[in-house]
Subunit: 633 residues, 3 copies
């Protein structure tokens, strides 16, 4: 795994570039990402390009032995461009045009802006496509950040009408698919269709799902256009995009297919603070991040792009954007780096080289402080670089467990939670964490992935079952677990004929006859676990494998395939993981709180995410806080 | 009481209509409501009506022995109509036009839309007004649902100006009535008046109150127009509208005067979750609903329309629209049905016959599942039908207690709570519940109602005292209780001369000299109860009947009339009910938690709303959970 | 200190004016503020003035021996004016024009409205400038109330562009100062610059800071225009403006420089309810207000205008605008009056003479009730008047402690809290309260104030250090404490070269190398106190004076100057106050909970803010609740 950093030569006096480059190399960095916000410097006036500074920056970095990841600057169109086509901005959910003055103010559907992007990316790729320093291109930056996938602009409405026409052929077919007879929502022509915007009560979930699919497609199309331009001018050079954490607004599997390397931006402390973790977890892992946050995304994005992946932005200290922004415990930056290696990353690039003293991210730590002294992370990077050099390249092995992740599932449960605590990402994460707590390595895969060869398959929830999925499941010989709401929807967001689990009934013979959601705080007892949040009634000839205190089935099993009717709490998850692993003959390791394992093809890594020293039985030793142990397999 | 269901033939293939009708009849249903969202099928193109399908649907249902309640489809104008007059949509409180794609997107004040409604209702009534199958007409659907009573459109502004001109005659009179000299808000002409929209801080409460009165009048006028069209074409056929629960945005007494039968839509589990009940109550009654939710509305709406009322939509299983959506305990659907009968309902109609597999309400249970199998409620409906047949028609007796309910009071306390926990509906509900907990039957009546003949009268709060009300109270010979803020406002939302309780001072000689609201969590002790939320200082020659620990009067009594100066907690409510009932010679029954009584002219019903079996002293027996006991009087 | 009241002759029949005036005088009042919302009566039609009623009102009041404070009516432009120039209204943060129907609907930047204001103020000043009854003029009313300092109108955008041009000279200079190269935010001309409005994520903090400075300048300019008009026509008559509590949206020091007497509107119970105080404090001081709320503002505003200050609106009973509105304990209105005197106020004017029975503030108590009977406060006012007469004029002495307060600091920490619990006002208030709890008198001063002569100086936080401030600090011979984030920003909202504390490094040799914010509930132990909310890592050769349990420095001391790296909890504040006072030789008095001291040049006041009697050691006696003790020094 190579180390790198994100660097903005345009932010610094040219006379320190060479020294920066020298220090990067000395610190053990080999890669440097540049350029992704520099439109106003590359093209300071409409049509007037200024390449000189960028030429020199690239030369200077290259001269120090660094390779460059070059970003396209399309996430930050300059003001002159917005002023020339004011309707290029996205319209937010309240109907307000999004203002200039930060970033990502564009609408993915605006044809004029897409033309401008093609122009600037072409110019960039023509100039640097063959440059020997450039080893990777990054398209745009963090698609969708700041809630920017959805836009309700005229451009989006118009594009959506075309998308609907292409998908359905006739308004009658669309009406039928969506069930628009309900509430007289039928359309006579595609021209009558609007985005699901500012409706009096919720819009048709089928309308929403198609709007989300459309919006995701617009992102993928936007990205694909840049990829095509770059590929034509930089043949053989890898292309990436930097995805985000806990983000499902577009289908990353889809975008991932068009790029070579999926990278993501890893901010474990910020993510811990901003998401659903309990106050107790937020306190316990305050300066370390929950032990599964980074690993979850490593395994998720490895599954997005043919196994090639990396960390494009790695938190090196306090960030500026969470509600609270603590500093990592000493050792965590190195630990996070090693965790990425343990999952088979090609690169880990720290964001950013030097903390900027100005503008929006001035409180975001870098490897250097604004005064160019080294920040706390610098020595940890040096140390990680040394360890990585010692152990050599680490390749991810196929994990014993496949965890099926579907962006569409996230949209479906988001559009129709049916209970305020039904959160798809949390559900999958809880499964992931339960597997990790027992020392199991996990591949997070798309529903289209080849599942053969896995020794356990977990499908936390898959409302819409892709064609052939049920058959592929049934053909597996390993234990499979299907979670609640699986098979509960057709592709048109309707309840399938014969009810849930629809197509999955070929895998396990049962019918979901009723579902209910339970308010927070309600926990109905079962044997060693509790029913919370969600439960389904099931009609089946199968005897329940697990039932609640009243005898209602909670887990049903049909051969190798199980169906779980409830939101599984941690006790039930532990029990299910134990049983399935036992049946599969997969070795488990009950790990102490805060300890995690991960194996590559050659090594086994043990990490202590706890803020205290922890005795680790399988090592027979105590790991200090924020430390790791590394051994050949 | 007849049973029925809500049915949407347009949602289902025509070839199953007859079988559906047969099954309805078999299940014990006699009524079926149809048509209320079918505009796009009745008039698929502007001016082109398609009656055939509806003719056939009516015939098919009728042929099975069912009678029909036919709805006007004006709650869901189709897209072609909105596109023809885009300004017909309501404008929300943020100034945003409400989008197409759900329902109720129209503005009650738009003349063009009212013309369209008159046209479609006329066409419908001309076709079916004399049809023998149709026993009832329903106007529109759930006026005001999804916060749609208020609109801030140009149409509404213009209509409001006319309304003000009609009410006040001159801008000077309006200025005087509202007190517009305050903050230079004086108008020189009615044309200068806007809705109270997006004002910098709160608008004049008099402005708000008149805007609420205007908006309520617009609803009543809208309804009255449909009623007149139907009456002329369907003479002698009952007309209803289906009201909602815990909803006070328009004056239901006013609308109720124009219809024959007040119906309402009863969703006990959804209402429990969505309203002010404590977390403890929400857990205890999770799958039953609070024992007074349905009963409260039964008694309220019975008082809205000359005593003729019913349940148009009865929850038959989990709904889709609350934050959490549990399933009813087995037995509850039958129990809710019997509770309606015990309050004298003419009909209870389940919503809906079959769960729709598509669109917004696909997670809303029906009597059938989407696959046409029977849902849990079906057998309960059969059972309820049998019980109802056995006991025969049940007529409501005049209750011993009148509880005075005023929509205007809800507006006044909503516009000017003066303490964040001052909620009119909750206050009335607490009184109602206290009476029910002691086994008392209650009539909820308007301030205009004839109060003679009642044995106790409770007025939880009545800020604006209608003409003659004080005199009518004074003439009563039964115990009367007046709650805080009664008589505190004139009709123009000013403090009356001589201060509160204004006109009520003829009933009880005291003056409210100061009021204060107390933050949540503050409870100041008194003898057996506590002062919370609200208290008033009173100047009077009367000695307090009850006082707080510091000796300040809490309840004053003057002959039969009491005035309570505080938000009464449950202990004080119990004490007051006990005293008043004792004085009135009304027999009380202290009921165990979760048990309720209700008497018709012929029977006494005992209901167990608890999730556990409860020993009921007056029965000398234990009632299982979600069960009832029925005895002749 | 003179007592007065706020009076609205236009609200009352003319035939009671004389009696009102007589009763005011009898009650001990000498001042009466009038006119500030009367535009629609002064100019009922465009260009037609009606002075007669105001002439008579002034004469009537004057005849009773009262002196008048005359307000300009510019906070409430009438509807006819808004209709003539509809773009004069402010645009809110959501892009919505602010509606007519309350007050403060104007945009400070609208030139047309400023012209209208100049016209009405000129007319008023020409008519009454020389009137012997008028002893003070008040400009407008509560600038900024209801979130009205910021506007995003075209008028504001245009004015902001001019402001930027004046400040920076060239767009290049602005780009450089703001760091607009970040995210391609560079402008090519001032015409390209918008307000920081509806940006996708946060705008550049430098953009925000300048927009806040601009908006503050617009307020000051607006005020200055009125001041100039009045001064020219009422030479020698004092001019005031009535500021608000806990309000920092514009620079009050700046506005204060243009007026003669800074007054403020004191609502201790409303402020307690609406701000950050804990639920426990809100309960303990429910009817008294936190003991430092009024005192804090007295000392703050005394520092805003050369030491001349007063209370223009004093809460006399329950108010109408807080979430909950309790009544003051008996005695509190007098106590609040005496507290103002103890801080050297020139006047305390009660809001309002008589409770209005109509419009927005009808639930706001006055000295009289709406029926003209005396409210509870009336006798307390009489009593306070008597006490004040007995003790004679009270002049504020220079306090031993200077507490440095910066409006710019409030903006900086508001724009970039970096931790959700970082609240500048709370931080300063906590320092103030800690000093008061030890019986110390405090002057709250601007960073520009002369600090010589103080015996202790506390700077809770001063991110941007004004020129010369560090040198002035270093020259002091008294103990000085600098709080976290001091010196952390340049005037352009960037991190200073050499890092924080920037210019203050000349005062204490240390460097802040990293900061972190801690989530609510996290408290890391130290010796007798805890680290919460905020902590900084420091590089320095100084040994820490205080450290946390892990040995990290929390307080560093260099000679007389200390730097505190954390959000100080109350235990640490107490310790620091004790040490500094000890070093300074300032006598402390550890006061019991709820007891406060304050000294004038001649007297020492002891106040009991507790709801219970409290034994006060320095008096050797128990003070009843809501009472005071007064003694010559």
């Amino acid at each position: 795994m190579k180390l790198g950093c994100c660097y903005y030569p345009e932010h610094w006096p040219e006379d320190i570039w060479a020294e920066d480059a020298r220090r990067m190399a000395e610190m053990g960095l080999r890669l440097v990402r540049i350029g992704e916000f520099a439109w106003s410097r590359i093209e300071p006036e409409p049509g007037r390009y200024d390449w000189d500074w960028l030429d020199r920056a690239i030369e200077t970095l290259h001269a120090a032995g660094l390779h460059i990841i070059l970003g396209t600057p399309t996430a930050t169109p300059p003001k002159w461009l917005v002023d020339r086509m004011p309707d290029m901005v996205a319209i937010d959910e309240h109907g307000r045009p999004r203002g200039f003055g930060s970033r990502r103010h564009y609408c993915f559907s605006h044809e004029g802006y897409r033309t401008e992007c093609a122009r600037i990316v072409t110019a960039l790729a023509e100039r640097y496509g063959q440059h020997p320093a450039i080893v990777m291109w990054q398209t745009d930056n963090e698609y969708g950040c700041h809630d920017t996938v959805l836009s309700f602009s005229d451009a989006a409405a118009s594009a959506f009408r075309g998308w609907c026409a292409a998908r359905y052929g006739s308004p009658q077919a669309l009406n039928e698919a969506w069930g628009n007879v309900f509430w007289s929502m039928e359309y006579r022509s595609f021209a009558e269709i609007d985005p699901p915007h500012l409706t009096v009560t919720e819009a048709n979930p089928a309308h929403w799902l198609d709007y989300r699919r459309f919006a995701s497609d617009q992102v993928a199309r936007f990205n694909r256009e840049q990829v095509a331009i770059i590929r034509a001018r930089a043949p053989g050079v890898d292309i990436t995009h930097n995805f985000m954490g806990f983000f499902t607004e577009f289908d990353h599997h889809d975008v991932g297919r068009d790029i070579d390397v999926a990278t993501w931006d890893s901010y474990p402390l910020g993510f811990l603070e901003q998401f659903w973790f309990s106050a107790q977890e937020k306190a316990a892992y305050l300066r370390q991040g929950h032990p599964d946050i980074a690993a979850f995304h490593h395994d998720l994005y490895r599954g997005c792009s043919n196994g090639r992946w990396g960390v494009m932005e790695q938190q090196p200290g306090p960030v500026n954007w969470a509600r609270f922004n603590p500093a990592p415990l000493p050792g965590m930056v190195a630990l996070w780096t090693l965790e990425a290696a343990a999952h088979g990353a090609e690169l880990t690039s720290y964001f950013r080289w030097r903390q900027a003293p100005f503008a929006q991210e001035q409180m975001h730590a870098g490897l250097l402080r604004p005064d160019s002294t080294e920040a706390e992370a610098a020595d940890e990077v040096r140390h990680a670089a040394k360890v990585l050099a010692q152990i050599g390249p680490q390749a991810a092995a196929r994990a014993p467990v496949a965890l099926v992740f579907s962006y569409e599932a996230a949209w479906v449960l988001g559009i129709q939670p049916q209970g305020a605590s039904m959160r798809y990402l949390e559900l999958v994460f809880e499964w992931y964490s339960a597997l990790r707590r027992q020392g199991l390595d996990v591949d997070i895969v798309s529903p289209q992935a080849d599942l053969s060869g896995y020794r356990m398959v977990c499908v936390p929830s898959l409302p819409i079952v892709p064609e052939g999925f049920a058959e592929r499941l049934a053909a597996l010989e390993c234990p499979v677990l299907l979670g609640p709401r699986s098979g509960s929807k057709t592709a048109s967001f309707t309840i399938p004929e014969g009810l849930a689990p629809g197509a999955l009934r070929t895998a396990i013979p049962l019918t979901v006859t009723r579902v209910e959601s339970l308010r927070d705080g309600v926990a109905e007892p079962a044997d060693g676990f509790a029913v919370t949040r969600w439960r389904e009634d099931v009609a089946t000839a199968l005897a329940p494998e697990l039932a609640d205190a009243a005898g209602r089935g909670v887990v049903f099993r049909h051969g190798k395939i199980r169906y779980c009717t409830i939101w599984p709490d941690r006790a039930l998850l532990a029990l299910l993981v134990e049983r399935m692993a036992g049946e599969a003959g997969v070795e488990r390791t009950e790990l102490p709180r805060g300890i995690r394992l991960r194996r590559t093809q050659s090594h086994v890594f043990t990490f202590n995410y706890s803020a205290q020293g922890v005795f680790v039985p399988h090592l027979g030793a105590t790991l200090p806080p924020a430390s790791w142990h590394l051994a050949p397999l």
